[in-house]
């Protein structure tokens, strides 16, 4: 039984890593077509670095991820805090709404935003499809994730600490600044990291809210793959794989230190 479980685990790990290994190995292959090994080369990487469009798409992707994460982290943290501290009308509905972006298929959110932006644009001229509309879309689901992560951190908080601060004369803001925030900070950081990687990874929402001139790396990869498989895409993918793995390990180290 033990042995069977080991073999199963090994096979699943092979299944999980085979596609990644294939891409990375082929990115160093001299052959332009097919998968036959024709010798080691870094030519595809050099080609990639000399492609100015790739730099632009990477910049777009990072701008979207940074700006949307910043907005979503602030709004989501405050929302979680308000939900934790205060009682108000519509609280149940709001709590329900937080789960919607997490569980609804992303294509539904994507087309709803596309329709919404199109209608507003027709009426007012605002919301031309651009990096801005992508950011607005990303914040909408990131916000929910951040709020849920921070809320679970708040739920594990000892209320006596905040009460003690209040008893010692700290006002609402001082309590937040010196007691609550340092305690929930790991949750905020975890939420922000999650939001950031969700934005980097997102294809569907971006696909429906992007316009001309706001191509991101996932959109570029999608377009290229529809035209056919090329070694440049192998190289680009390998870089992104390395970056995301480094990011995950860095994020874990960061969270563990706290």
């Amino acid at each position: 039984m033990r042995l069977l479980l080991r073999i199963h685990t090994l096979l699943v790990l092979v299944f999980l890593y085979l596609p990644i290994a294939v891409i990375v190995v082929l990115s160093f292959n001299q052959s332009r077509f097919g998968v036959q090994w024709r010798g080691f080369t870094t030519a595809w990487y050099e080609k990639l670095f000399h492609n100015p469009r790739i730099a632009l798409y990477a910049e777009n992707t990072l701008v979207v991820a940074l700006v949307s994460t910043l907005i979503a982290t602030v709004l989501g943290t405050l929302l979680a805090l308000g939900l934790y501290r205060y009682r108000f009308r519509g609280k149940g509905l709001l709590r329900f709404l937080l789960y919607v972006p997490v569980v609804i298929p992303d294509i539904v959110m994507g087309v709803a935003l596309l329709l919404f932006f199109a209608w507003i644009r027709e009426a007012t001229g605002f919301f031309r499809l651009s990096l801005l509309t992508i950011i607005l879309g990303h914040v909408t689901y990131q916000l929910a994730y951040v709020a849920l992560v921070v809320r679970s951190r708040l739920a594990s908080l000892d209320p006596a600490l905040e009460e003690a601060a209040a008893d010692l004369g700290a006002g609402g803001f001082a309590t937040f600044r010196y007691v609550t925030f340092p305690l929930i900070w790991p949750g905020v950081l975890a939420g922000a990291l999650l939001a950031f990687s969700l934005s980097l990874d997102d294809f569907v929402i971006t696909f429906f809210t992007a316009g001309p001139g706001s191509t991101t790396l996932p959109l570029y990869i999608f377009g290229s793959v529809k035209r056919g498989v090329t070694p440049e895409i192998h190289a680009l993918s390998s870089i992104l794989i390395a970056a995301s793995m480094a990011g995950v390990l860095l994020g874990r180290a960061l969270l563990r230190r706290r």
Binding site: R87, Y99, V102, I104, A112, I221, G247
Partner: protein, 294 residues
């Protein structure tokens, strides 16, 4: 922890700086678009793909096969096919993921193994799909491997097989994580007690362990089933036009076909199906159960 002693004005101010910005954002960019889409689903496609009145049920009737020329179950069949597809994908991830969750929980290198399983999931979704094209295409990895033994190449891409493989691959971690959390909490003394009372290994597992992992399994099943039901990217890239799921229908209506009214109706049917499932789940598992989905 409600400081109700505060004056109404202060209470309002506190809500204004904490809850309001986020709530307003969700209202404007989620609730309003959903409402717009609901309205659109009752409109019609005008010239050049615009939306025109009067309000009509025609989009929904067409989806369910009731057209002016008689019964045509085209979209109903696609919906049924999508549900079947998502069910099979869920079953396959369960077969792969459930034992894996136990293996991780019982391993001496728990943390490392868990990280190994989750790591591929953090690499870009499209890259993972793309990799399967490289593996399955005509001159891909599988066929190169077969060729080494003098075997005939297989037509693996585009195919349903490729779509299934990539979908299971993509959503496997979604199942493993909640099941693993449940396995970690299993009370093994029940299992021992069952064996002491003479139950065989299989029976004691079935009655003492499986029920304890069930909440994690249900959460994992939903986390795989829902995105598999709504996918269009995987079927588009690995099916290359041969595999049409409900997600592809929606995407085509908002893309090349430009019939936003019908596309909205199809999106609402998909959303209705998902919300129905979630409602049934939330009724049994409560908010704690919803938290397991995050």
């Amino acid at each position: 922890m409600d400081r109700s002693a505060a004056s109404p004005l202060r209470r309002l101010f506190r809500l204004l700086v904490t809850v309001w910005p986020g709530a307003l954002w969700l209202f404007v960019f989620m609730v309003v678009p959903a409402f717009f889409m609901l309205v659109a689903s009752f409109l019609q496609r005008g010239p050049h793909g615009t939306l025109v009145g009067p309000l009509t049920l025609a989009n929904y009737l067409r989806f369910f096969g009731l057209t002016e020329t008689g019964f045509d179950p085209l979209y109903l069949l696609i919906l049924a096919r999508s549900v079947f597809f998502a069910l099979v994908v869920t079953l396959l991830t369960l077969l792969l993921g459930y034992p894996l969750a136990f293996a991780i929980a019982q391993s001496r290198h728990k943390e490392a193994l868990l990280l190994l399983v989750v790591l591929p999931f953090w690499t870009n979704f499209l890259i993972r799909i793309y990799a399967w094209i490289v593996i399955f295409q005509k001159k891909g990895v599988v066929n190169a491997f077969l060729g080494m033994f003098g075997l005939e190449p297989l037509a693996l891409y585009p195919s349903w097989f490729a779509v299934y493989t990539a979908t299971v691959y993509t959503y496997l971690p979604f199942l493993v994580l909640p099941v693993y959390t449940a396995v970690e909490r299993v009370d093994w003394t029940l299992h021992e007690a069952a064996q002491d009372l003479g139950a065989g290994r299989f029976r004691s597992f079935l009655h003492a362990v499986w029920p304890q992992t069930l909440p994690g399994v249900v959460a994992g099943v939903l986390l795989v089933f829902i995105p598999a039901l709504g996918t269009f990217v995987i079927s588009d890239l690995l099916g290359a036009g041969r595999v049409i799921l409900i997600g592809n229908v929606i995407q085509q209506q908002f893309g090349v076909v430009r019939d936003w009214a019908f596309g909205s109706a199809a999106a609402y049917v998909l959303m209705g199906l998902v919300l129905l499932g979630l409602w049934l789940y939330a009724r049994r598992a409560g908010e704690e159960g919803l938290d397991r989905l995050v």
